[in-house]
Amino acid sequence: MELSESVQKGLQSLADATFFDMKTFSVFIEVAFRSLLSAHADRSVLDQPEFKRLDQKLLKHCHTAATTCILEGVKQNADKSTISACLEDVGFDAERTEVFYTTYQVITNLLCYSFKIHSRSQPQTVFFLILIQYFGYRFSLGRCPPHINDVSWRLEYCIKNGHVHKVNEPSYLISLNVENANNGGSSEDLHFSCTMEQLQVANMNLNGCIPF
């Protein structure tokens, strides 16, 4: 993994026992992972009692370095030997490397446990879903078309309107809830109407999309 000089310096400070003893280091690593996984930025993420004695500028530098290192590892799908080698290069001893990698593995271990529970049924479905969850938060970065999250429907029977009487036809009103990832995650509803025959055709088309 290639890390910038600034990130390397931040990690070197994190490896230094004069700044971070083991207890402070362990809390710091947990905070760094948590700050990446939460949906919204938390300004008070570094307001831990263990960090009170530390220089705030150093703390922020180390936080940036740690989170960058974590993101780079996830991005490259780095294995244990790659992460260990990278951390050793910046001065992490074996104990600190182990603490870092153990926390890194917690995500994958939790998902593997879920896989074992569900593995009796629809293994292919679970496999795809687990893979999606594993990289789920990283998937939110990047550009893509608006993403369909949900669908609502309404069945109505039109009796008449202002221009035509005796219509007497059923129709569906479909609303797709769509999230636009490129526009700050704003969501909107896409409405359209269709007849029963059109809905049957649309449903047949969607059934054809299923990859298994």
Binding site: Q76, F128, L131, V151, L155, V164, S193
Partner: protein, 187 residues
């Protein structure tokens, strides 16, 4: 229309003009041309055609029966042949006229077509070594005026299965006893 100048073929011609005007909008030049041929005012021709247009649109809107149509035109005092001609004009064109009137109704875009593509995302700038199945869809919609639009959308397999289940529930609802009773009894 019942004046001495009117004849069956003339009424037929006025009826053809009325239906054409309902399809494509009015054209005052037609009135002037017809007025010259008949040696009457353009205004007289206009009133005649507009009267026919109103008769056709109202009859089609209400979808009245042949008997009701005959009863309606009876009060105008036309000949039996003329009444029959008008009824034929109504019956031959009412479906099309109802379709034209239906386009005036405020409505949402309606479904036209759905294209889809199954992809697997392998990598992006933010994340390498991915296996992310994605369904990309192009939903074609059509407005009541004929304007078409296409929306490109994306979803994941889990959401896709949820969409299918929900739409199948929607289709199943039409076959329930409650809905069948409504469709059978409100005609």
């Amino acid at each position: 229309l019942s004046g001495p100048e009117s004849q069956d073929h003339l009424v037929g011609e006025f009826g053809r003009i009325a239906v054409e005007f309902l399809r494509k909008g009015t054209n005052p030049k037609i009135y002037e041309g017809a007025a010259r041929k008949l040696s009457v005012d353009a205004e007289t021709v206009q009133h005649g055609v507009e009267g026919l247009m109103y008769l056709l649109t109202e009859s089609s809107k209400l979808m009245i029966s042949e008997v009701d149509f005959q009863d309606s035109v009876l009060v105008l005092g036309f000949t039996e042949e003329l009444n029959h001609l008008l009824q034929q004009l109504y019956l031959e064109n009412r479906k099309e006229i109802r379709h034209i009137l239906g386009e005036l109704t405020p409505s949402l875009p309606h479904y036209h077509n759905l294209e889809w593509r199954l992809d697997v995302q392998l990598a992006s700038r933010a994340l390498r070594q991915q296996v992310k199945p994605t369904v990309t869809m192009k939903l074609h919609l059509e407005e009541s005026g004929g304007d078409k639009s296409a929306k490109v959308l994306q979803t994941d397999p889990a959401t896709l299965m949820h969409l299918i289940q929900e739409l199948e529930k929607a289709l199943a609802e039409l076959k329930t006893t409650h809905c069948r009773r409504i469709l059978r009894n409100i005609k």
